[in-house]
Symmetry: C2
Subunit: 340 residues, 2 copies
Amino acid sequence: MSPIKVPPVVLTGDRTTGPLHLGHYVGSLKSRLTLQENHRQYLLLADAQALTDNADDPGRVARNVIEVSLDYLAVGLDPEKSVICVQSHLPALAELTILYMNYVTVSRLERNPTVKQEIGQRGFQRDIPAGFLCYPVAQAADITAFKAELVPVGEDQLPMIEQSNEIVRRINRQAGREVLPEAQALVSSVGRLPGTDGRSKMSKSAGNAVPLSASPQEIRSAVHAMFTDPAHLRMTDPGSVEGNVVFTYLDAFDENRDELEELKAHYRRGGLGDVVLKRRLDARLQALLAPIRDRRADFAKRPDFVMDLVRAGTERAAALTQETLDEVRAALGLFRFNRG
Amino acid sequence: MSPIKVPPVVLTGDRTTGPLHLGHYVGSLKSRLTLQENHRQYLLLADAQALTDNADDPGRVARNVIEVSLDYLAVGLDPEKSVICVQSHLPALAELTILYMNYVTVSRLERNPTVKQEIGQRGFQRDIPAGFLCYPVAQAADITAFKAELVPVGEDQLPMIEQSNEIVRRINRQAGREVLPEAQALVSSVGRLPGTDGRSKMSKSAGNAVPLSASPQEIRSAVHAMFTDPAHLRMTDPGSVEGNVVFTYLDAFDENRDELEELKAHYRRGGLGDVVLKRRLDARLQALLAPIRDRRADFAKRPDFVMDLVRAGTERAAALTQETLDEVRAALGLFRFNRG
């Protein structure tokens, strides 16, 4: 037992393909606010990974580096506690990826369930870019370069952690000692927030997302348009809570659990109108997003200040990840120039 | 017409899996000695590529970085004229590889004839490492990072140049301008030197190679053991020149063409013994290799000096390749921090 306990390292982040939205808040940002209090947390702006399926629109990926940074700062992620860094500016990640690719077979990558599923979602079919097939290796480079001990993921991302740990074991076996730690998945207990249209995934492109920067009017419109129970035609009819998007959102954002349970019971037996529910949800979302929107607007007025924060974080991360690369190379006995 | 003509850039190099041998001398080193006189020549010690099929023996790859460097210096490659650099110490190459992997499909890589053939040779079958499948992309990164205009290759490597140029065109199309030049293959007119046993490829592992550092006795033994014409049993018998390993070597190393043609004619009609031929070849090889062996031994006594030369070359190459990476990123509109 060492007397001083070093807080564990958490690696998390986002692909920079668009500003973040309520789904990100519920699924990850909220828990990151907690994690940063007693972990060494690294937030990776994953622009290199975003390119694996946005190669024909690199400008979009670049523009959203600052958007996601603004979202981080707006929700209260604190650069003093959470290091924000840009993936494409950490050369050790690319070098580790290339190295690890020698220790993973093509058929192993093709069997990765997450990759398989996403190949379908993105409509790549047969012609997957090599970068897309290999992105689990790049993720392993990310995770190991930071020596992350905990990686927050959804259930569907568990195979990525398994792939990373496989590479860790392979490298450690080759090195004959434990140069890299295995990572643990920190699986979110929160279900994924559906889009405002009730579809399974909230996304900007589907037009069913409420961005963190949404104006009061945008929030109101989004709530107004939400599906409830299509069979609940008259206020006096009994209504269904399950699959009712408004209740799903109230479950995610209403902290008064007792009142919420009463409302559900009332709705089920009939006599509670959708308007009451929507007003309640609107109030909750307005209260949540107002300070986030204000802070975001403040930071957005100072882009140089924000980019300096990100640059400083990236420099810290560059040093750390380079150190890991050097360790891995030395452990494998790869070539290096003598020092001095 | 510009008044000052900049010499074209040549990129070439070797995988660092073992010391170089006579096959390398005939196939590439000799022409590099000519090229360095009127080209900007970069010699890449391809240790990262060597790992793609030597992942279980990284130490071998590392140890041979200095061996190949010694071979270069021994044959007369001049660090003032040919920049010697270590692939694994040029981070821009890994970064360009990762970037280009987004612009090449897996099925395109699987169709690469060179990769297909080498998969068979190396016995990978189904379980190819991802790094091996993607090594044509890494080669494209090498070629383009140096903005190489000429790349010396054997016939069998032509698909690699084609793959590289495909990537160049894809990047230029994405960028909307010609940020990268296409490379031209400089196909060697010299056939591949067979092993001393007559097998198609000279290689250390097959035990049929004469290393550039071979001792006089090793050269003598190798020549002595060479196959001639198995049907040429008595000196007076007519002998065959085609497929006769000693004549193949004489073709490669004997500069007195007239005498050589006379010998061939004599051998064909009968009356010329193998011993005479072998003595002649031995003399030619001893004369060729003696100064190379001596210079190699001299340099080998000063490993720090040699490594300083390679380090200086690597630093020059690192700056050049980083510049190309920055240009490509800017042309694609990828994220960068504002300067200052």
